[in-house]
């Protein structure tokens, strides 16, 4: 879990220091909207197709889902399907109801009949929102207020409400991280740092959606693919992360930023075991650094961390360094 805060990242840099940025591994795509709104050119990548598709549909493609496709593919299922025919039948009550599984099966198959790839992506990205909603409602023990077709229509509308033109292009990439170019011209290199740790499958939207997207109900296989795609870029409690690969991908960036969130451990632990490791590894290329921390929920020891690093010759805002309230290191 990470609370990605674009405006906080920009506050930690000199004004107008970041007109472009590069992220080899993105957080949830919608959290990048702030950068897009400010007209920052983005090179953003996700090695998983299920997530890269969400990235494309929300940030790079301005197309709307057509009324004709909505009428054709967002239908009410009048007669429940034979569950035995449904490849996702093992998910019954974990966390979806039989009726919800009917729709998940139908929507996945229906999308293959949409001939335009962008329209299909939009349809599937709306299903991602529906799945997240159903999972949250099941976790809370609450019945959804809307029938599935209305919910899907609502998710399609919400996506459209979020679309806007940007002054700069968003390059939404889908490549294995090691295949990304290392001479990226972006001024800012951003790593949203996730931590190794497993949630139960029925509450892990990334895993459930990726499995659904692949059309294979095997959640262990989906998790395996996700872990393989992110290997080295997720902070492992024992081995840290692959800082050599990260440094290589920082290309010609003037600034590098790591942002992460952590609960149940005091900030000092993060300073000594995460920030110090990153500072040490990046010190040759980015010798100046500032760690900032803020409480998200002090009662749960839940904090957000932002480590900003600069190459020689590039300044970090002096007022931030001198502010005793906003930094640990």
């Amino acid at each position: 879990m990470i609370r990605f805060q674009p405006s906080w990242i920009l506050e930690s840099l000199p004004p107008d220091a970041a007109k472009s940025l590069f992220m080899p591994l993105v957080p949830r795509p919608s959290s990048l909207m702030w950068f897009k709104r400010l007209g920052i050119r983005m090179y953003v990548n996700d090695p998983l197709e299920s997530r890269a598709m969400l990235l494309r549909t929300l940030l790079a493609e301005g197309e709307r889902f057509t009324e004709q496709n909505r009428r054709r593919f967002n239908r009410v299922i009048r007669k429940s399907l034979d569950l035995q025919m449904n490849p996702f039948r093992n998910w019954e009550n974990k966390p979806f109801s039989a009726s919800q599984l009917d729709y998940l099966f139908y929507w996945r198959e229906a999308a293959f009949e949409i001939s335009e790839p962008v329209q299909r992506d939009i349809f599937w990205s709306a299903v991602s929102g529906v799945m997240a909603h159903w999972m949250a409602m099941t976790a809370a023990g609450t019945t959804p207020a809307f029938p599935p077709d209305e919910l899907l229509a609502c998710m399609l509308r919400r996506r459209e409400e979020q679309l806007f033109e940007s002054a700069e292009k968003v390059y939404a990439l889908h490549l294995p991280i090691e295949e990304l170019g290392e001479e990226v011209e972006a001024e800012l290199f951003v790593v949203p740092l996730q931590f190794q740790g497993r949630k139960p499958f029925e509450t892990d939207h990334d895993v459930m959606y990726h499995a659904w997207f692949r059309g294979d109900p095997d959640l262990h296989a989906a998790l395996g693919e996700i872990e393989a795609a992110r290997r080295g870029w997720v902070f492992d409690w024992k081995n840290g992360c692959n800082t050599d690969a990260m440094i290589a991908k920082s290309g010609k960036a003037a600034y590098a930023v790591f942002i992460w969130s952590g609960a149940d451990l005091p900030p000092r632990w993060h300073e000594e075991n995460v920030a110090a490791v990153l500072r040490n590894a990046f010190s040759t290329r980015f010798p100046a650094s500032v760690l900032r921390v803020k409480a998200a929920d002090a009662g749960r020891d839940d904090y957000d961390f932002l480590l900003t690093m600069a190459r020689p010759g590039y300044a970090l805002p002096a007022d931030l360094r001198q502010s005793p309230g906003n930094e640990l290191g």
Binding site: F4, S7, S30, A145, A295, G325
Partner: protein, 217 residues
């Protein structure tokens, strides 16, 4: 008997010393109970700037506290919640009047500026409080939505701290209870129905349930 009395005196002395140490620790860490009367005064100024006839922030604090207690939030969390409710819209004071008071629909640029108020509020408060206070972050996230379509960070589900999820729902409930230039105040039944519809979308289902439980009493 003398030993008994000595033990009793020692126990009292230890308790007093512990209390003094705790008090000193609280003072050093800036954890003294804030004086809410002053903050309520400031919240009135913010309400006026936003053209609320009734005290919006104070009503929100009352609503939020009820929900938070039903959800088992501890006293420390309740203090943060109350502070955040009273100051949640302080960033609005830095937004141009003609945007706040505009009668018609805001264009995209005006909407973007208006949506900066949680960040402006956070920065203003963060400057004057110790780093490990969570109130500035709660102010930042009072317009986040459970389904990830809020602002400024589009946080989703558990990414939004529970106290901020309570703040968001309370803000909506109290706003619906107030007359606004474009509609009259809504009745309680309509409010409950609307909040129920937004369960799992705009609002956390657990927070909605706690609100509805309170409303049913």
């Amino acid at each position: 008997m003398a030993v008994y009395i000595l033990n009793a005196i020692l126990a009292v002395a230890c308790t007093w010393l512990a209390w003094r140490l705790f008090d000193l620790h609280e003072r050093l860490n800036g954890r003294q109970m804030p004086d809410f009367a002053y903050i309520e005064g400031v919240s009135g100024i913010i309400d006026a700037a936003e053209s609320y006839d009734a005290p919006h922030a104070l009503g929100m604090a009352r609503e939020a506290e009820g929900i938070a207690r039903r959800l088992g939030i501890d006293e420390k969390g309740l203090v943060s919640l109350r502070m955040a409710c009273l100051l949640h819209d302080c960033g609005m004071l830095n937004i141009a009047r003609d945007i706040i008071k505009k009668a018609g629909t805001l264009d995209a640029e005006e909407l973007f500026i208006l949506r900066m108020h949680p960040i402006i509020g956070e920065l203003a408060i963060r400057r004057s409080v110790p780093p490990f206070e969570d109130v500035p972050s709660l102010i930042r996230w009072h317009h986040e939505k459970f389904d990830g379509t809020g602002y400024p960070d589009r946080l989703m589900g558990d990414e939004i701290p529970l106290v901020a999820r309570i703040l968001s729902l309370s803000d909506a409930v109290v706003a619906m209870r107030s007359d606004r230039p474009y509609r009259p105040a809504l009745d309680e039944e309509t409010i409950r129905a609307e909040i129920g519809r937004q369960s799992g979308l705009q609002f956390d289902p657990a927070v909605v349930r706690a609100f509805l439980e309170g409303a049913a009493r």
